[in-house]
Symmetry: C2
Subunit: 450 residues, 2 copies
């Protein structure tokens, strides 16, 4: 399958920033590149649900004027970005991928306001699995987002539109949200970088909730370094430390958690070890993986049903049928399971934290398989049948339970489809995720910036 390619493919934010400051391009020109690419590619890929050409052009002009006048907002100044349609952008519709919502948002979400302060130009809103409640990305009132590597396949989700927009080179950067893997899963399936910060690191004000004790704003870009640049603009100065010490990395055996395509595991491990050298292997206690999964489900179900109970009672017909069925199921999760799950979290965070006793970073596949077909709900994995949704979430949701930061970076392809390497650390050690990812990239010899 051909590697997807658009005007921003292979270009980095650093490179764009240099070009903007050295007169080789303007924000207005970058916005036009994005708009043209969307016009050309999006009828097939369905990454965007709203394109704000007029607003983006006006913002680009202001960015150009500021730069020309010597007012420089930093690396994102003039850079076009996509925003997941679960995140409010003032004056633009916010559908949450659903038929329940019509009107436009009155104010920017906090993360959008911060990106704009850093000079970023919002191009439009990207497609999302309805209410972000699904890792497949193929149930949206706007239709499924499609995988640029093979459009009959799913993008993954729920931030599918953001991953597709970046993977197809329509924009260099997009905002997503990650409650159980919704940034990392589509990043892995579409072959881009996706960063889920620590819980609470980026404010979720103005983001439609999925499960409020897991919800995290995240970033998608072609290169992990661009996620880092955007992350820096979203958190207070000094939030990222860097003690200069290289991270101690271990390989976490994914088969201790869930069935894993052996080729995926091998490819991902080879990708990380190309940078780090051979890694010590850690195993996850199986009962703990089960408990993390059950804890995730009890909490997500209860919190999601709390968000939607009124809609479920008053207008069930407006939900996508599959999402409706899931919300109905979630509404039946007993309260006592939620109580127990919430009490288990500190203990689980402690025992997961203990995995980091002698290591700073754990490496594992982001997703144990490559992108299934749109609408596919069952598949085979390592010789046994698995549910697609469970498989997609299997290696990501546990990090939401404990609130740890996790980065997914492209790690090659298996049978022509991209796979992701997931790097996880404790809160406060985020810089080591990016350093570790860069190691592999350096040895691999990636395309030059810009």
């Amino acid at each position: 399958m051909p590697t997807p390619s658009g005007p921003f493919t292979g270009r980095t934010i650093d490179g764009l920033a240099r070009d903007l400051r050295e007169g080789r391009t303007t924000s207005t020109a970058l916005v036009q590149l994005a708009l043209d690419a969307i016009a050309e590619l999006d009828p097939l890929l369905n990454a965007f649900v709203t394109v704000d050409a007029a607003g983006a052009r006006a913002a680009a002009r202001r960015a150009d004027d500021e730069l020309a006048g010597g007012a420089d907002r930093g690396p994102l100044h003039g850079v076009p970005v996509g925003v997941k349609d679960l995140i409010m952008v003032a004056g633009l519709p916010a559908s949450m991928g659903s038929r329940h919502f019509a009107g436009v948002a009155v104010a920017d979400a906090a993360c959008v306001a911060r990106l704009r302060q850093a000079g970023a130009v919002v191009i439009g809103k990207t497609n999302t699995h309805e209410f972000a409640y699904g890792p497949t990305g193929d149930r949206s009132a706007a239709g499924p987002s499609r995988n640029p590597w093979e459009p009959a396949r799913m993008s993954g989700g729920s931030s599918g539109g953001s991953a597709v927009a970046v993977a197809a080179g329509m924009v260099p950067l997009a905002l997503g949200t990650d409650t159980g893997g919704s940034v990392r899963i589509p990043a892995a399936l579409c072959g881009v970088a996706g960063f889920k910060p620590a819980y609470g690191a980026i404010p979720v004000d103005g983001v439609f909730p999925l499960a409020q004790t897991f919800d995290t704003v995240g970033l998608l870009a072609g290169h992990e370094r661009d996620c880092l640049i955007a992350y820096r603009s979203l958190v207070p100065a000094g939030a990222l430390k860097d003690d200069g010490r290289p991270g101690r990395v271990a390989w976490l055996d994914p088969t201790g958690v869930f069935a894993c395509d052996p080729q995926v595991a091998r490819t991902v491990r080879r990708a990380v070890e190309a940078g780090t050298g051979p890694l010590e292997e850690l195993a996850f206690p199986a009962h703990e993986a089960d408990e993390l999964r059950e804890t995730f489900t009890a909490i997500q179900s209860s919190e999601t049903a709390a968000v939607h109970a009124d809609r479920l009672a008053e207008a069930p017909e407006l939900f996508d049928p599959e999402v409706l069925e899931r919300v109905r199921g979630a509404a039946e999760m007993p309260g006592w399971r939620y109580v127990r799950a919430m009490r288990a979290r500190p203990r689980l965070a402690e025992s997961v934290g203990a995995l980091f006793g002698r290591h700073d970073v754990l490496a594992l596949p982001t997703v144990p398989l490559t992108a299934p077909f749109l609408g596919q709900r069952a598949t085979e994995l390592d010789g046994g049948p698995v549910a697609v949704r469970a498989a997609l979430l299997a290696l990501t949701s546990m990090w939401n339970v404990v609130g740890f930061p996790a980065l997914s970076v492209p790690a090659g392809t298996v049978r022509g489809l991209p796979v992701g390497l997931q790097l996880v650390c404790r809160p406060g050690w985020e810089h080591l995720l990016f350093e570790t990812a860069a190691l592999g990239r350096a040895r691999h010899g990636t395309p030059p910036a810009g």
Copy 2:
């Protein structure tokens, strides 16, 4: 009906303390009085499930020796106390009113340890509604505790044994727990004082949980001043302030919350106004009362079912049938309702707090009716049918939702049965509850101390 009477009826802790120090009695003698009263009265009243005669006599001897040697632990030194059988006492059985538990507790609960440090002598364990899950006090593996005013009537619960032990004069003081009214309800129905401190004021370590975000250790005594003396020994020095300012008291119309026997309302109001003079009347917004009730139920059900889910699955036959039915119902409370209820609490605390804008203390009946008969589950109240359990909890559980302190004091009788005046304040103003109660008592002319 005759007023119940035992050796500690009409005696106060201050009076006992004076007698002990002035040689008119000894702790050993007080313990013997308690043991004799239990032997005489408890076959009928069933207040105690365990009596530790040997342990109490030994502790009394130590207390007497200390006092004789000049080591004075303060007003509780040598005073016999009962402890609800939900609270651990080292070496004594802890049945929680249930057939699920056999063995003895290995350590004292934190509150028991503090009472002992203050010199109190544990006489035994008092009967409780099974697992404290019921305000009627008539479903215990040990059989129902009985109201000393009329033994065919319920004591109220769940701290029924503690209320009965104090009301019948078997002990001057007892520990209870209050999750939705479990100290105040039996105090009111049995004609004694019951104090539920602010949530978190007394540690619950070593107390078997009912609903952990409501559970509170409380105190029962013949006089509210004795609750205050015991409370002082259970909280850090300085926890109780006293700015000398008299409390501004308002009457809270109970009929805005639930149906109320007009004679009960009239009697209680007259009792408080005898001390304070005519009170301004406040009304509770009806929708808020409903929301407080729903919030209480969603949270108590979920948290209680979380405590009992394993017992429910493994040994349902060991539960009392009515309690089993209630735990089964609680296990069906959906998680999303718990999530919403927990989110509603800060808002509810704020709007309930607003009732205290121009007043420090709200006065209302503790319970809107007098003690029903044992096993009675339906009655008439103000001309309409009500469920007994709902009626008993109607005026108390809302204060657990918001975590405010509340004191119930005897306020006379209606048709020969005692009724309680409930005084509520914001955390930090506890001293005003006791001052307000004392006002009424002073004007009424209560029996002299000791």
